[in-house]
């Protein structure tokens, strides 16, 4: 009988430490599947963030560096500039990328550094116990916004994919999600496409992945999936915001490609 489904070769044979209903496991898997499909494990370097995925290197089997909080895009720049033949990816959460690391990701994207960023957006800080993130929704309760995010005090959530897509430098900027199987198939294709752009030495690639955090949202995994679909997806629309082929003029983002 043929084996139809198995652990990707580029994943260690261990259980992860992630919470029930966390999407890191799925996203790790999609990255590992892309590495396997493209046969690039031998020249891939991953960069783990500070966040729940700080130990992504315990699960994905390739060369890895552990970054300081927010600095992965700078490290990726260093690696890629001195060894352009290596396939480099960063894997970052919303605190890492959209808060402390905002400068690094914007400048790396703007320089068109040829690495791939996987941005896990679950609208909250996971590892540190559920504080507000730049991506936290209006009125969403977190441990540092116990009365709900008050946008008149701290502003609206930041949409990273759209922000990076406004940069004139060509890039592949897309938003996906893995909260249901129908979305996972598209996310898988997008992640693989991102790595292919890197293999072609084409451009910076960025895959934002809307994710769940049942533990810190205070929901069951099932409710978390529904809340993500009902509340996050309308604010964070899925789809390609920019591809190397599309044009950007005067801050307008071309509606390019299907989700």
């Amino acid at each position: 009988m043929a084996k139809l489904f198995q652990r990707p070769k580029s994943m260690f044979d261990v259980s992860t430490h992630y919470c029930p209903g966390c999407t890191h496991g799925v996203i790790h898997r999609l990255v590992a599947e892309a590495i396997d499909a493209l046969g690039i494990r031998g020249r891939t370097v991953g960069i783990a963030p500070v966040g729940c995925a700080v130990m992504a290197y315990n699960y994905i089997d390739c060369d890895f560096q552990e970054a300081a909080h927010g600095r992965a895009p700078a490290m990726a720049t260093g690696i890629k500039r001195v060894r352009p033949d290596l396939m480099v990816f960063t894997y970052q959460g919303d605190g890492d990328l959209a808060s402390i690391g905002m400068g690094e990701i914007v400048h790396a994207a703007n320089r068109g550094e040829k690495f791939t960023t996987i941005f896990v957006n679950n609208a909250i800080y996971g590892m540190t116990g559920g504080q507000m993130a730049p991506t936290t929704m209006p009125n969403q309760r977190t441990t540092t916004s116990p009365f709900g995010r008050k946008t008149e005090e701290v502003g609206m959530p930041i949409r990273m994919a759209e922000l990076l897509a406004t940069l004139k430098t060509p890039g592949y900027i897309t938003r996906q999600t893995v909260i249901k199987p129908k979305y996972i198939q598209k996310a898988k294709k997008a992640i693989e496409r991102a790595f292919v752009y890197q293999m072609e030495n084409r451009c910076f690639s960025f895959v934002e992945v809307i994710s769940t955090c049942p533990t810190n949202w205070g929901m069951t995994p099932k409710d978390a999936v529904q809340w993500a679909e009902d509340v996050l997806l309308p604010y964070y629309p899925l789809g390609d915001k920019k591809t190397p082929e599309s044009e950007v003029a005067d801050g307008q983002v071309a509606a390019a490609g299907a989700a």
Partner: protein, 355 residues
Amino acid sequence: MSKVLMKGNEAIAEAAIRAGCLNYFAYPITPQSEVAEYLSWRMTEVNGVFLQGESEVAVSYMIFGAAGAGVRVFTTSSSPGISLMSEGISYLCGAQLPAVFVNIMRGGPGLGGILPSQADYNQATRGVGHGDCRLLVMAPASVQEAAEMVMMAFPLAEKYRNPVMLLGDGLIGQMMEPVEFPDHLKSEPSNKDSWATNGIDHRNGTTRNLVRSLFLDPEALNNNNLMLRAKYERMKAEEVRFEAYNTEGDYKVLIVSYGTMSRVCKTAINALKGQGIEVGLIRPQTLFPFPDVAIREAAAKPSCRIVLSIEMSMGQMVDDVERCLHGVRPVEWYGKCGGEVPTPEEIIDLVKASV
């Protein structure tokens, strides 16, 4: 080998290339921006990598990434920029990565000034970053010495798998002096396949390498720190460098001074010699490890009555001078901040007043 007249900053830049370091990431800051300006074209001549990063914070992690990928890499900055790199330097120490940093010191604290200072001594010699980290710190007193120390820094960083820092000041960076880049200081990069993330295939291997500084298990973290400590103890045993100037005779005063300040002291010492007053000088060339024994032995000379720590700060190296003397002689500090370099006349007056 021919000597060339070069500005200190440019000599530092060229020395790195002669040392086989073809990768440079940096951010402009006075008084060392000439390094980046020079390398922005010179690196293209040697097919090297030059990138002006968006901040010193970002640059320190570009250094980390490149060092982790197993190549020689360096950066230059000045005091406030080094502060921004302090976290990155801590990470480099924790992950045991070789890299070279050059601090062309300017006045502080805060935005301070753009003129020379020696007020980052404590920062540099205590490892710059958080945790139990140390840097091997070298202090040049001339453009030639700066070039040689840069060339030495890369194999030293690889020997210890630790960042190495050159501590210069705005005068060293800006002045022009003859310089040559000695062949005997050239070196081959070490083999980094046992730890670098340079690609599994590149190593003809099967297992991946992990560059990290997180050890959540207390025993593992303690072990990492014990390993780092052993390296720093080895530095103390093997890497102390200093110059002894006019210490053969019976001097009443011993000066401890480094970098630009030491040159002014030498001028004063020569003038005082002409007046029949003997003064000795120990010039540390490594600030970490500090030349404890050399200073204590020089101070213990029966004729010596007092030790003067002369530095362009409000008194930082003086603490190390006191520490290593074990009370054998009294110590006084003299210094100036703001960017004015004390004159030989000031030093002469200081020496006469102290005996």
